[in-house]
Amino acid sequence: MNGVHDVGGKHGFGTVTTEEQEPVFHGQWERDVFSVIGLYFAAGLCPLDEFRHSIEVMDPAEYLSTPYYVHWLRAAENLGFWNDLFTPEELEARITELESNEKEGL
């Protein structure tokens, strides 16, 4: 698909920014996202190209405005739905549950 992921030769993104002594992960949320996708891969959940496509179908505006591991977060969701690991309803319910637990300080 002619998606926003296909950035080769596009203008306007600016200069490359590098980080000295860059850590492998920039926070626990990156580790958490990586752990899910990493196990999907290790367990052979789906072909690698299905993973790539699960990112390509992201909302293009979100793709361009979010860090890399948000792309993987959407992949973790989409691959979960497509491979019947969980449903969108189950995910929303679990988010609500975790949110209310947090508010109650559980």
């Binding site: 030769g9 990493g38 196990l39 290790a42 052979g44 190209d49 299905e50 496509h53 390509e56």
Partner: protein, 119 residues
């Protein structure tokens, strides 16, 4: 999805997937052939970047007979094809933009992405 215990993860990630297939038919192209990239616009997954469409390059490597991502991504089977590396000049891809037009970009491409160049 296979349930992996922690002590199984290392071996799992160290086991390579085999992306090649046996019983390859003859290749359509040989190293050194001039090829033009087809102007394909599938709505599903593809590994053909926009910037190479319609451009002409030279086959630099024949990698082998590989599963086809455009079908693999959609549960349509491996439908293997010959995979090549194609060399393009930066000038062919981007005109005079970007410095030295004699620099090269090398792109891996499946056989069905390519036509024989017309001249």
């Amino acid at each position: 999805m296979r349930l992996l215990q922690a002590n199984e993860v290392h071996d799992a990630i160290r086991t390579p997937t085999n992306f090649t297939r046996p019983d390859a038919p003859p290749t359509r192209f040989s190293v050194g052939d001039r090829v033009t990239v087809r102007n394909l616009n599938p709505t599903g997954h593809t590994r053909l970047p926009q910037y190479a469409k319609g451009r002409t390059g030279v086959i630099s490597i024949h990698h082998g007979f590989f599963v086809f991502p455009d079908t693999m991504a959609h549960g349509e089977g491996d439908q293997p094809q010959h995979l090549y590396n194609v060399r393009f000049t930066v000038g062919e891809l981007f005109g005079k933009h970007g410095g030295n037009p004699d620099d090269h970009v090398y792109i891996d491409m499946w056989e069905s992405y390519l036509d024989e160049a017309s001249s």
